[in-house]
Assembly symmetry: C2
Homo-oligomer: 229 residues x 2
């Protein structure tokens, strides 16, 4: 008995092996029904999911086609450092360099949807993995989203984890670039001033609006990923 994933396997293999090339028409749903002796719903699901995966393009009235693989895509995940380290079997620790309320700068206010000078919570942490400095985290938090933020011990639980608890994430934006470390940043991370660092900036939104803006500066960090047809 054939299942939808048998049909997917057969199509994936054919595409991988060049039986159909980019732009070619695939067998119609009706043809696949006959070939695999399954109902149309089953074939439809197989094709629909291949479409979501980006492997197939479907057009009503015309047919299903092999999608041009013009974009290499992969899931990029920005995760809680502590979990990340734990999954690698590494030890993670965070040193709290600062934790206070301060007036919002123009940039910060803009990102968080506040007025300039309004009170925001700020924290700065140095994360180490296996004792090696890995990330300098500077974070600004909307007080109403996490009123008890300043009373937390971020040596025990990362701000990321805490905020996910008290203000579940509904959306986020990120931005990745290469920057030169300032003298202060360099000394925290154990680098020379001016050394290139990967900077990730992330704005998190909860149900009630912006929650937190984070500036994550990494020492010799490499983002990796892969993509498979």
């Amino acid at each position: 008995m054939a299942t939808y994933s048998d049909i997917q396997d057969w199509l994936r293999t054919g595409i991988r092996e060049g039986r159909w090339r980019a732009g070619d028409r695939l067998p119609s749903e009706a043809e696949l029904c006959l070939q695999f002796s399954v109902s149309r719903m089953t074939v439809n699901r197989a094709l629909r999911e291949l479409q979501h995966a980006g492997l197939v393009r479907r057009e009503q009235g015309r047919g299903s086609f092999v999608a041009p693989l013009e974009r290499v895509a992969a899931r990029l995940e920005l995760r809680d450092l502590h979990q990340d380290a734990a999954e690698r079997g590494h030890h993670h620790e965070a040193e709290v360099l600062g934790l206070r309320a301060e007036p919002a700068s123009a940039d910060c206010a803009h990102a968080l949807g506040l007025r300039r000078g309004q009170r925001v919570f700020f924290c700065q942490l140095l994360h180490r993995e296996q004792g090696v400095p890995l990330q300098l985290e500077s974070r600004w938090v909307v007080p109403s989203a996490a009123p008890a933020f300043l009373e937390q011990d971020f040596g025990r639980q990362t701000p990321t984890a805490y905020l996910l608890q008290v203000a579940p994430l509904t959306a986020a934006q990120y931005q990745i670039e290469a920057v030169a470390a300032s003298p202060e940043e360099a000394s925290c991370l154990g680098l020379e001033a001016g050394e290139p660092c990967l900077l990730v900036q992330r704005l998190s939104h909860g149900a009630a609006g912006p929650v937190s803006w984070a500036r994550l500066l990494h020492r010799r960090y490499v983002l990796q990923g892969s993509f498979t047809a």
Copy 2:
């Protein structure tokens, strides 16, 4: 008449507005069938797709739950620069700095599955968008995967686009990091030596094995993305 996307909208809204929080149990398929007066297949599809989107976790025999949004994920796409610029309505041009066959270095041979010293094709291009240097592309290609590579005019069609044509992509791996520009690289990109650059390295595989290894060095480039529940 309710459709699967009506059900998805209702669930998404409830999750966004905090009606169900991370880990909470959602209504069962049977309950949703009654509530929306639809068949179970329709409800099932709605929930299955929310699961693929990462918003819902389903467990056989237990129920459907709001997924913990512990990872901020987004599709990272590494695309053809020319198309990318075109979609922004910008002009793109590429200057060919080098195009030749050469013996594979150890790194290159390793990445491409060749022996050291074996003949590989090499090209180096400077990409400009709106006249501004944007990316320095250095690329090594397995000759058997694209025998006519050296005869192409990469001022007209990018190597990425050409290779997608002659050796459709089946898989790729990428790696993103921050590096300092070497004096040569800096002069190409119009930077000072040592300035931080975003380096993307990408290994592409076709049906017959590794096709190409690219080293893409960017000037003041920012990768951006977003994630929405």
